[in-house]
Amino acid sequence: MVNVIFNKVQKAFGSVVAIPDLNLEIGSGEFVSLLGPSGCGKTTTLRMLAGLEQPTGGEIRIGERAVNNVAPGERDIAMVFQSYALYPHMTVGQNIAYPLKKRGVPKSEHPARIKAVADLLQLGPLLERRPKQLSGGQQQRVALGRALVRDPKVFLLDEPLSNLDAKLRAHMRTELIELHRRLGKTMVYVTHDQLEAMTMSTRIAVMHQGHLQQFATPSEIYNRPANTFVASFIGTPSMTLVEAEIEMAEGAAFLLVGGQRFPLPPSLVMADSRHRRPITLGVRPEDISIASGEAARASVKLVEPTGHESIVTLDLGGAHFVMRAAGDVALRLGEAVPIALRIDRLHFFDRESGQRINTDAERPAEFRSIAR
C-alpha cells in the first residue's frame, strides 16, 4: 500500500490552464473520490496520475517515487475507464491476461491468476466471449478484472459506473466498497455523482475549475462545506444560499434574513457589539422546519411530493428556502406557515469570497471572526 502526493501540480493545454496549482495527499489504503462538475479537472488529474497526461509543473509521487517521467506501464497502477476500454478483438480471458502478458508474468501463472479474478467477479462462464457479447454490467466487471489481475499499488477509476443503469449502479457501488475493504488498496475514483462519492469514499476532493475546493471526509464535506461552491454542489436538494446579515447588538447576535431577525446563541456574542456584516447564509433543506406556535412566517411557493418526503419551496420576505418535509405534509400554495431554523446547523459564508466563516457550535472560537 502506498500514498499518492500531488505537489504543486500544474497542467495547461496550450494556453488553457486546466489545473493551476494542485496540492493533494492521498493516504495509503484510502478510497478518495475526485468530485466535481464536468470540466473541473478531475479526469485530467487522474490521467496525470496514470501517466497519460504529462503535468506542466510540480511533482506527482506514488509512494517514495516521483513518477513525472515514468511511463504509465511502469507506475504499478491499474485503471478502469469510463468506456471500459476493453480490447474488442480479444476474448474476456485475453483481455484479463493482457496486463500479465505485457509485464512478463510467466505464462504458467496466467491461468491461476485469471481464475482467481474470474471467481472474485463471477466472470468464469464469460471468459471465452468477446466484449461486444457482454452486457454493460458484465463489461464493467471485465474492466475491473483486468485492473485487479495484476495486484497493482494504486487503482484509478474514471467514472466507472456512469454507463450503467441506476439499479446496477447501486449494486456495483456496494461491490466496489466491498472490494476496497477486502483489498485495502489505495483507490482514486473520479466521479461527478455526489452520491457515489459520499457513499464510497474515505475522503472526497471536491474540484471546481481546476482548483481543489475542499478535501475532507464525506460527513465533513456535507456538514462543514468550505465555501459556497461545495455547499451548493453537495446535497440533494441543494443547500439554500441567500443573502443575509449578522448583527451584533446589545450583547447579543442576530441573523437578519428576509426581513426577519433570528437570535443567535449567546456563546457567539462578541464584546464588540453594534456590528453588521453582510454574509451568504446556507441552510440545508432538513435544517428548516415548520415551527409550532409563534415564529417568523414564510409563504409556500411550491410543493414537490416524492413519496417518502416532500420538497417545499418557501418565500421568506423575498428569500427562497427549500425545506424537506414529511411526504404527507398538508400545505396549500400561498399559505403562510411559521418556520424554524436550526441555528446550530446554519452555514455562514463571506459574501465576497464565498469562503466559510463560521464553524459548528462546538467550535465557537472561529465563529467570532464574523465580528472582526
Partner: protein, 276 residues
C-alpha cells in the same frame, strides 16, 4: 403495381449494366481459348468451336511472361508493404500526437494527390537516374509509393480517428509501450482500413502502365503491363490470342485477392467514406 414495375425496370437496367461490363471480360476469356484460326471468322462465333490451351503454354514456356509476372508480384507486394507501413504509422501520428503544423501537413499530403501524376514522371525519371535507380523495380516502388501514400494516409487517418483513445490508454496503463499498444490494439482495430489500403495499392501497382513505361526499359525489370505490351504488340502485328491469354493470367491474382477480401474492402470504403 408501380413499385413492381420500378423493380422490373431497375433489374433490367442493372443486368444490362452488368452485361456491358462483363462482356469484354467474358470475350477475353473465350478468345484466349480459341485457336488462332477462329479469331477472325465472319460472323464471329461466341463460343469456341475447339478449346485450346496452346496460347497459355506458349506464354509460360516460350516467352518471358513468367519473369514479368514475378516482377509485377514483387513490385506490387513491396509497394503495398511500404505504403501500408508508412501510411499506418503516419496516420497514427496525425491522429494521436499533437504537434505544430499537423493539420497543414495533412492538407499538404492531400494537395500532392491532386497533382496530375503525369507531371511528375520526367522529374522522377531524372531523379532516379541521378541516384542510380533507373531501370530497377525499386524506382517503380518509390514512384508508386508517392502517389499511393497520400490516399493511404487519408483513408487510414479517418479509420484511426474512429478508434477510441481509451483503448490505447488502457494498453499503456496495462504495461504496453507506445509501439506495443499500436500493434496490439490499434492495428487490429484498423484492419479493415489497412486491407482496403493494401488492396488499393496492390491494384494500382499491378495495373500501372505509364510510369513503368518511362522508368524501366530493361527486359529484366519490366512488370507485366509494359512487358506484355512490349512482347505482343508491335507496330506491325498484335498477337491477340497470346494477349488475351496474358490478360486472363494477369487478372487472376486480383480476382483471387478480391474474392477473399471483398467484405473487408466494402467495409473499409464505407467506414472511410462516412468518417472522412
Amino acid at each position: 403495381m408501380t413499385s413492381r414495375l420500378s423493380t422490373v425496370i431497375l433489374n433490367i437496367v442493372t443486368w444490362t449494366l452488368v452485361a456491358v461490363i462483363a462482356f469484354p471480360l467474358v470475350w477475353m476469356v473465350l478468345t484466349s481459348l480459341k485457336p488462332q484460326s477462329e479469331l477472325f471468322t465472319i460472323p464471329p462465333g461466341f463460343l469456341p468451336r475447339e478449346v485450346t490451351f496452346e496460347h497459355y503454354r506458349i506464354l509460360l514456356t516460350d516467352t518471358p511472361f513468367l519473369r514479368y509476372f514475378v516482377n509485377s508480384a514483387i513490385l506490387a507486394t513491396s509497394t503495398t508493404l511500404l505504403v501500408v507501413t508508412v501510411g499506418a504509422l503516419g496516420a497514427y501520428s496525425l491522429v494521436r500526437f499533437r504537434y505544430r503544423g499537423r493539420e497543414t501537413l495533412a492538407g499538404l499530403v492531400l494537395f500532392t494527390y491532386l497533382l496530375p501524376s503525369v507531371v511528375l514522371i520526367i522529374p522522377l525519371y531524372l531523379m532516379m537516374v541521378k541516384i542510380g535507380l533507373s531501370n530497377t523495380l525499386a524506382s517503380l516502388v518509390i514512384a508508386y509509393t508517392t502517389f499511393s501514400l497520400p490516399y493511404a494516409l487519408w483513408l487510414l487517418r479517418s479509420f484511426m480517428a474512429g478508434i477510441p483513445e481509451d483503448l490505447e490508454s488502457a494498453a499503456l496503463v496495462d504495461g504496453a509501450s507506445r509501439m506495443g499498444a499500436f500493434f496490439d490494439v490499434i492495428l487490429p482495430q484498423a484492419l479493415p482500413g489497412i486491407i482496403s489500403t493494401a488492396l488499393f495499392t496492390f491494384i494500382l501497382a499491378w495495373n500501372e502502365y505509364l510510369y513503368a513505361l518511362v522508368l524501366v526499359n530493361s527486359d529484366q525489370s519490366r512488370p507485366l503491363t509494359t512487358g506484355v505490351m512490349n512482347m505482343l504488340i508491335t507496330a506491325f502485328n498484335i498477337d491477340w490470342s497470346l494477349l488475351m491469354a496474358a490478360s486472363v493470367m494477369m487478372s487472376i491474382p486480383l480476382i483471387i485477392i478480391f474474392a477473399f477480401l471483398q467484405s473487408y474492402l466494402t467495409r473499409g470504403f464505407g467506414a472511410g467514406g462516412v468518417k472522412g
